[in-house]
Amino acid sequence: MNKRLRLDGIAGRMILFFVSLLVLVQLAVFVSINVRSDQIAQKTVDHQLEVGERVFQRLWAQNNTQLEQEATVLAADFGLRESLASNDRPTILSVLANHAKRVGAAAMVVVSLDGRVLVDSLHPAGESRRFEYSDLLMHAQESGHAAATVAIDGLLYQLVVVPVLAPEPIAYVAIGFRVDDAVAKELGELTGLEVSFLSAAGRGERAVTASTLGSEVRSELPHLVPLGAPAWAGSAVSLRDRQLETRVRSLAPGGSGAIDVVLQKSLDEAVEPFKRLRASFGLLAVFCLGVTVIGSVLIARNISQPIRALAQAALRIQAGDYASPVPVPNQGEIGAFAATFNHMQDAIASREGEIRRLAYRDPLTDLPNRAQFLEELDRAIDECGKAGQAFSVLLMDLDRFRFVNDTLGHHAGDRVIIEVAARLRAALGDQDVLARLGGDEFAVLPSPQQRLESTSVAGQLLRCLQAPVVVDGQSLDVGVSIGIAHFPRHGTDAVALLRRADVAMYVAKREHKGFEQYDHRIDGHRQHHLSLLSELRQAIDGNELRLHYQPKIDLRTDEVKGAEALVRWVHPVRGSIPPSEFIPFAEQTGFIRHVTRWVIEAALAQIETWRALGVEIPVAINVSARDLSGAELPELLAGAMRRHRVPPGLITLEITESALMEDPRHAARILARMRELGVAIAIDDYGTGYSALSYLTQLTVDSLKIDRSLINSIRPGGRNAAIVRSTVALGENLGLTVVAEGVETSEQVELLRQFGCHQAQGFGLARPMPADQLIAWTVAREVAHESAPSP
């Protein structure tokens, strides 16, 4: 068994499905995590920045307030007031330095009430200039203090301005506190953000004046961050390899953009936890995938292996092996399926046995049928062919079985067949094969011991049927004709052997011989017949047929009572061919219908011709069994009679006894229609068959024609003479005209006349002659009669 899992199998598809599903779900989750994590990171950063903005604002304002308070305290210092009031410059400088040290101020500036710089710790030489931040002075004057972030000489200060009250304002003190990296760092720690301060550096340039950022990126920042406005503005800045969400706002008085604070948060840091989440999710996904693959492989195996076993079993059943059951797994649907499968296998086996029996057995007799017989025959051919042995095949059918079927019914026919089969079976050895090929046809393949004893086997068979078969209280004589063919002499295949046995059987039946062995000569005869078929067709088309007429003489008056139309074939090569050469063949092949049609047409045309000459001669036309089997004969005849304006009294149809017996009911119907046309009916060849006269009289025939075989051997006081005489008497009593055929001698004529036979026909009276000769012959005969009256 193939252990590999195929992707197009159930297992493969299950695995594919589950794995695809899992991968799909994981992909969806992963994508959604990715999208969401970016969103969350962005939100987190935005939120942190928002909080950071507020914290920064508060811190910055607090810082300013604190610085303002410190400045206020300084401004209220009595020493400063006193020294300012007294314009004691050294003291002023000293007080300022002391206070700068005390509060950590980096710059101290004293400004007069009218805005002139009195003392400047940063620029001792630049004193008495106007103070740059006059609006701070105004603000301080109004509200007691003012603060602003300013850049002085590239450094950033928080500048606080307070008036010096003594107790009225006498000057302003501006105190500058450096905003440097330390301040940025502290703000950065409190806000959790990167904090940078940008200030204008001349010519539109900006520079980082303080920052938590590393020095290596400080020069880039001013180019990336937009100018600040009084309100916070956001942007995204990519600094080196860091993604920084950025907020910027102006710190300069009036929001001029000269000094901006920049708050930044790294997006990467916010994304970092999600990266770890993604990594662990990836691990989990791989683990799940592995578990799923293994799990679905196991489950699929569980399903697919029993199914594959079932498939194998199905293949085995297909090959005809019903013996080995499928192992039934214990669990679930597959187990139930396997059990059902086994039931099915048994059912198929028994049904196939039945089919086989039906296929190879004849249901009526329970004998082997044609199919089985052919197989047996093939096997015998095979075996004996290899062994170089010979054997024979016997083919037989029942004589007149159709008559039994038609007169006694099919049920009786079946009984006859069953009885015959039983007798044949009993007559044969166990090793002999007896088969019913169909209908009333049987075949025997003798056992190897008997194979060369075919004639004795045939004898046994004939003997076993000698006793009559009794059906429904009636005793029936059942005759059989047997044809024998020998392997390999007559054929090396079943078909050829059976065909030749059939030929032999035909000969046996025709010649009433019981059995006949095949002879190449009889088959050669057949070959000759076959070639005749096309020639015969040509004969009708080419008008090679001629009608001769043999007169029928009234034995009492010696008058010509009519003539029998006899067909002659004037073959262009072989010359004149007698009817016995081609009529039986035409009857066998069915071509006789065409011949009959031609004869009717020609005969009626002749009658018409004679009538035109003023002569009315009744004509008898032979009709075969084949002609009776169809229904077209009456129409054909009626049509011809109309065309040739022939009265029905001039036509007699001669039908052989055997033709009537083949299908008596149908024949009766056809004959009845003929009589409706007014045509006379004669039974031809009477005395050769087995027909009961009573049956024939039911057909309301007009005349009997005694067969030539009886007339030929008729002798005064002989056995045939007695038959003829009684037949004539019987015909007389039944009102039938009795005609003797084949009369050859004047003795026969005399005897027949004594018996009271009505008419006679034969070479002894007149040969068949062409139509024109008939007229001449008749005229000559009448002339002779007149000159020498008959006795």
Partner: protein
């Protein structure tokens, strides 16, 4: 006009009118803001241009008290040479000082009466503060004339016993935005002269004063 001022002013006017032999008259001055509202604590004073002599009584030496951690009064006017006392009425000490040009002085932490009165011998504005209480602010206006007055809450003041003659009349206020131009006037013992000044002064802003209880001075 305040009923109390009317009641006080009328008998004085009658008195002045009833003694024409003294050849002196009273000046009624009114100081208002730009929109006509009375201005309190404005100082109005007359300087003689023709050598008139003051014939009235010398005013008593004024005191500037520290009461409830304020200078009371807020504005004080004295003639040059006046000795001003600074009595401390509060339970806490004060440290009164002034860096003003006419008189720099300092009375270091003291309680009760200051040890000595301070003599102001130069005319001008002396702005006073307290080193302990930053909000304390008081003004002492030193004039070199005996004829001066300070407006009450109705913006009115009266200067008595002014000899006939030519004067320049001036007005000053501690929170004036601009100096008001002086005015000349001639007195000839007639009916009381009326002076009307308009001055633009910022209003006095209230200031926060922490309570005395030190536990409660959160701002």
């Amino acid at each position: 006009m305040h009923p109390l001022v009317l009641r006080l002013a009328l008998p004085l006017a009658v008195a002045a009118w009833a003694c024409p032999l003294l050849a002196a008259s009273a000046i009624h001055a009114e100081v208002v803001g730009p929109s006509g509202e009375p201005v309190e604590d404005a100082v109005v004073f007359l300087r003689p241009l023709t050598g008139q002599k003051f014939s009235g009584h010398a005013p008593p030496a004024p005191s500037i008290e520290q009461r409830d951690r304020e200078f009371v009064p807020y504005v004080t006017v004295v003639q040059t040479g006046a000795a001003v006392r600074f009595p401390n009425q509060d339970p806490v000490r004060h440290h009164v000082y002034s860096f003003s040009q006419p008189k720099k002085f300092e009375i270091k932490l003291y309680a009760g009466d200051a040890p000595d009165p301070i003599v102001f011998d130069k005319p001008g504005v002396v702005t006073m503060g307290c080193n302990v209480h930053d909000w304390m602010l008081g003004y002492l206006f030193v004039v070199d004339t005996p004829w001066f007055g300070k407006t009450d809450s109705s913006g009115l003041t009266q200067i008595d016993a002014v000899e006939d003659g030519d004067y320049e009349a001036r007005v000053w206020h501690p929170r004036q935005r601009h100096e008001v131009a002086m005015r000349r006037l001639k007195l000839a013992g007639a009916a009381p002269e009326r002076l009307h000044f308009t001055i633009d002064a910022t209003p006095r802003k209230p200031h926060y004063k922490p309570p005395l209880d030190p536990l409660h001075y959160a701002k």
